[in-house]
């Protein structure tokens, strides 16, 4: 509301300033029609606005002036001097009141009837303006923030100049790096850099607007629509103070309006239906905006009848959008997503408000055009939730730079779901009829090679590339193989020339820090040019996914703080236990740090001789199934699981990547690297041993499997023909005859049934590992 009043005040002041000259001219020449009209327009505007704001005095004044002027305009009255001065007195009074509103004061008490009376035909002279508290307001108004109005074009020009300046600075930085170091020059440049950064911040903020500007019109719209449809709707708006790029606000205005219209028209039932359905007769529509990272989320939730996924599917079949076989396999979410297909609407009848079936597809394409996503979630009979996710701004995009055949490209981060190595553990890459299919943790994802799309020759072997799993705005994933991943950068993106855009591959161009141009990919365009049939593949892939979903994506890790203070995570499966040893037990021997724990001397990582200090040091005892080693650390922070995307390090090392764990970045320690570097050649697996684990047992698959894998085994199940080196089975279970020798029996009770029982309690981790180790040692011979 405050913003609205500020707008109103600004508008009034603007008109008053413009009127300044007109009033004087009108006084000299009361017959001048054009001047009369502009004065009339002013009082009319004031009257209209203050009715809305409840400023009764302003309203009465402007109303009276409007009446008198209307008479003059209609020729019923001749503008004599008395009338002119009466009108002028009123305009002055309006000016005073506006000033006091601007200063944030209460409307001063006072009587305007004298002024109004002066307007009456034949009134004697203009009443003296009543002296009120307003007169003193002058001093105070200076306290209000000073504002000026600027044209948006000017702001845009400043913004783009600042972007250019940033790029120019980057280029200068590069040249400075190349030339000889001159400390004073560097210092001056640093200062310039920080000023430019500050300026860019400030300018970016001028483009930001509170999303409230978008929301203010909603209550009125909801009121009008619900009255028209005979519904009762309470609208609840939250998060108006979220700031968003001005341009972005304009871009989401129409989609948002459309979604709300839909909710009111099709979602929320009329009072009678609601009562029958056991709901309150007043429907609730809530619109909530919030910022999440560099995205803005806008939730539009109604408690109406919800979307009938089944009916959508029927419609989609009859409209030929999906065929019957596919339709049967759609998940509920996919059924709902059909609402975004062109030519579908569940509304039984078309109304004037919404629903000609040309709605949601337009909404989706509009949102996607600005790099956003629309999601729908609905429960039949309970309501519908639509979520718009849009980037904060259009011009600065967080992106990942990758390279192929030596050339760099950028991929918008918003589209990246995860990054995996093509030769990673849970990834296999196959070619079916020339088409690439990547299986990532049991999920089949179409794979395209960036080199193939671009027609470039990559010198990196297919198995050594990195796969970037992309989810373009459309919502279907595919994997893109690139040579190498470089950096995460915030790029100032500019549209590319039409000849470049015509390829359909690129979303724009930008300059890297080294001053060379980089092309930013459009993930959806890449998929299209790469020939990925997103929709069909994705749907059929889901079935595979469904079966293997029990293999959880999350990896359990131990979160700890290293001796150097770094926040790190280590896969829980490789940590045997935690030991506390005296620093004196750590020695540099045979070329590396080693720690003595009990009878064993283990290689020690995570520490240098200097960083240990004195006293005691805590050490993780790591076990790869054959060898043990230590890893020194300062403190254990938490147990956690990695369910965020892992950003892999560019080169192999102790840290394999970083990921957000419990909301903060943590470095992931690569146990494989640790063992291969610290234990040396001996640790390198001769040949991976094969362990059979029944595939039907979820406990085995979820709990045991990672342990067995960490112990250095490759896990197979009954379906594979391979001859296992070792078999894990639960007591009482039938086994293939030839496997009895190398079987580890597990029991679910802690205590053995009798003395002969050789089985191991299934949570006896140490026992299990020992069994696996000794079996492995036997099997390897």
């Amino acid at each position: 509301m405050d913003d609205l009043i500020a707008d109103f005040v600004a508008e009034c002041r603007e008109m008053l300033e413009a009127l300044g000259g007109e009033i004087v001219a009108w006084e000299a020449e009361p017959d001048d029609r054009a001047r009369l009209d502009s004065i009339f327009r002013f009082v009319h505007t004031v009257k209209g606005n203050c009715g809305f704001f409840e400023f009764p005095r302003l309203e009465a004044l402007s109303h009276a002036a409007e009446d008198a002027l209307a008479d003059v305009r209609a020729g019923r009255r001749h503008p004599d001097g008395a009338l002119v001065s009466a009108v002028l007195a009123i305009i002055d009074r309006i000016g005073e009141m506006v000033a006091s509103i601007e200063a944030g004061e209460d409307m001063p008490a006072g009587d305007d009837s004298a002024l109004i009376q002066a307007l009456e035909p034949g009134a004697e002279g203009a009443a003296q303006p009543a002296v009120t508290a307003v007169a003193e307001a002058g001093g105070k108004s200076a306290a209000a923030p000073r504002t000026i109005r600027l044209s948006v074009e000017l702001l845009d020009r400043v913004m783009s100049t600042v972007s250019d300046m940033v790029l120019a600075r980057n280029e200068l930085a590069r040249r400075l790096r190349e030339s000889a170091n001159d400390v004073p020059v560097d210092g001056a440049f640093e200062r310039l850099s920080s000023i430019i950064a500050e300026m860019r911040d400030a300018i970016t903020r001028t483009r930001m607007q509170r999303i409230e500007n978008l929301f203010v019109g909603l209550p009125r719209m909801v009121r009008d629509l619900s009255a028209e449809l005979g519904k009762q709707i309470l609208v609840d708006i939250e998060g108006g103070d979220v700031e968003l790029d001005r341009e972005m606000i304009e871009m989401i205005r129409d989609p948002l309006t459309h979604i709300i219209r839909n909710s009111i028209d099709h979602g929320i039932e009329n009072p009678l239906e609601r009562l029958t359905a056991g709901k309150r007769e007043i429907g609730i529509l809530s619109v909530v905006a919030r910022q999440s990272g560099n995205q803005i989320l806008i939730d539009i939730h109604d408690d109406g009848r919800g979307i009938d996924g089944g009916r959508l599917v029927e419609k989609a079949i009859s409209a030929g959008i999906v065929d019957k076989a596919d339709a049967a396999q759609l998940t509920p979410r996919e059924q709902l997503a059909l609402i975004f297909e062109a030519g579908l609407s569940t509304a039984k009848e078309v109304t004037s408000i919404s629903g000609r079936g040309v709605g949601m597809d337009v909404v989706r394409s509009n949102i996607e055009r600005i790099g956003g996503i629309v999601e729908v979630d609905s429960k039949l009979g309970e309501g519908t939730r639509m979520t718009l996710r849009v980037p904060l701004t259009l011009t600065i995009i967080p992106a990942l730079t990758v390279s192929i055949a030596g050339q760099h490209f950028a991929i918008p981060r918003s589209a990246i779901e995860e990054i995996v190595r093509a030769n990673g553990e849970s990834v296999t890459l196959e070619h079916l009829g020339g088409a690439g299919v990547a299986t990532i943790r049991g999920r089949r994802v179409p794979e395209v090679s960036l080199a193939a799309i671009l027609g470039l020759d990559s010198e990196v072997d297919e198995q050594d590339r990195t796969l970037i799993v992309l989810r373009p705005a459309g919502g279907d994933v595919y994997a893109l193989s690139v040579d190498r991943i470089h950096d995460h950068e915030e790029l100032v993106v500019k549209p590319a020339a039409p000849a470049v855009m015509a390829t359909g591959l690129y979303a724009g161009t930008t300059l890297a820090d080294d001053g060379s141009p980089i092309l930013l990919f459009d993930p959806a365009g890449l998929a299209e040019v790469g020939g990925v049939k997103l929709e069909t593949l994705e749907r059929s892939a889901r079935i595979v996914q469904g079966e293997s979903e029990s293999v959880s994506k999350a990896t359990a890790v131990l979160l700890f703080r290293g001796l150097d203070g770094g926040r790190r995570a280590l896969s829980l499966a490789v940590v045997d236990r935690i030991e506390e040893v005296a620093v004196s037990a750590v020695n540099k021997a045979a070329g590396q740090l080693r720690v003595q724990i009990g009878e064993a001397i283990l290689p020690l990582a995570g520490a240098s001789a200097e960083s240990l200090g004195d006293g005691k040091v805590r050490v993780f005892r790591l076990n790869d199934g054959q060898h043990e080693m230590g890893y020194a650390f300062a403190e254990v922070l938490d147990f956690a699981s990695i369910d965020n995307e892992i950003i892999h390090a560019e080169f192999p090392g102790e840290i394999s990547g970083v990921s957000l764990i419990n909301g903060e970045p943590a470095e992931l320690v690569d146990p494989h690297w640790l063992f291969s570097n610290h234990v040396g050649g001996a640790a390198r697996c001769k040949e991976q041993l094969v362990c059979l684990i029944p595939c039907w047992d979820p406990w085995m698959q979820n709990m045991l499997r990672p342990l067995v894998e960490a112990a250095g085994y490759r896990v197979v199940d009954d379906a594979d023909d391979e001859m296992p080196d070792i078999v894990v089975a639960t007591v009482g279970e039938a086994l293939p005859e030839d496997a009895t020798e190398r079987t580890i029996w597990l029991r679910s009770e802690p205590e053995p049934k009798n003395k002969k029982d050789q089985s191991i309690y299934r949570y006896d981790r140490a026992g299990l590992l020992t069994a696996l180790k000794s079996a492995g040692a036997g099997g390897a011979k």
């Binding site: 050339q407 500019k494 590319a496 020339a497 000849a499 092309l519």
Partner: protein, 146 residues
């Protein structure tokens, strides 16, 4: 009406570009290819922190391909619809004044020239073909599509 013309050499032929369209003449050193773009788009380059789309005029005129392997190329920088382009030419010669309005060339020219030229203008150094910058940038494929 006299207009200033920039005389450049494209595919061994001296032609004129309207100098009002040309912002500057530069030497390009870096050239980042744009995979999958139309063949006459030689790549991207950067000039004073701006991205230039580099157009190979020879390709655009269907006269073969400019050899970019030796590194530095001369190019005329033009702006069209808010985008900056660098037109690779063999050589930038001079600026002259036009002595006539462009008049149609009635003899048959190569298809590329036919498409990209506005007409013939008289100058002190003899008649020159006046080339349409927009047509050079559009290239031969746009024509085919239209």
């Amino acid at each position: 009406m006299s207009e200033l013309l920039l005389i450049v050499m494209i595919a061994g032929e001296r032609v004129a570009l309207p100098s009002t369209a040309v912002e500057s003449v530069v030497e390009l050193d870096t050239l980042i290819p744009v995979p999958r773009a139309a063949p006459h788009v030689a790549g991207l380059s950067a000039l004073r922190s701006r991205v230039l789309t580099v157009i190979d005029c020879m390709r655009s005129l269907e006269l073969g391909e400019t050899d970019c392997s030796d590194g530095i190329r001369e190019a005329a920088v033009v702006e069209l619809d808010g985008h900056h382009y660098a037109l690779i030419v063999d050589l930038v010669e001079d600026v002259v004044e036009s002595l006539s309005e462009p008049t149609p060339v009635r003899a048959a020219m190569g298809p590329g020239w036919e498409r990209a030229s506005i007409g013939m203008v008289e100058t002190e150094t003899g008649p020159l073909l006046l080339v349409d910058v927009a047509a050079l940038i559009a290239g031969c494929e746009a024509k085919a599509a239209a």
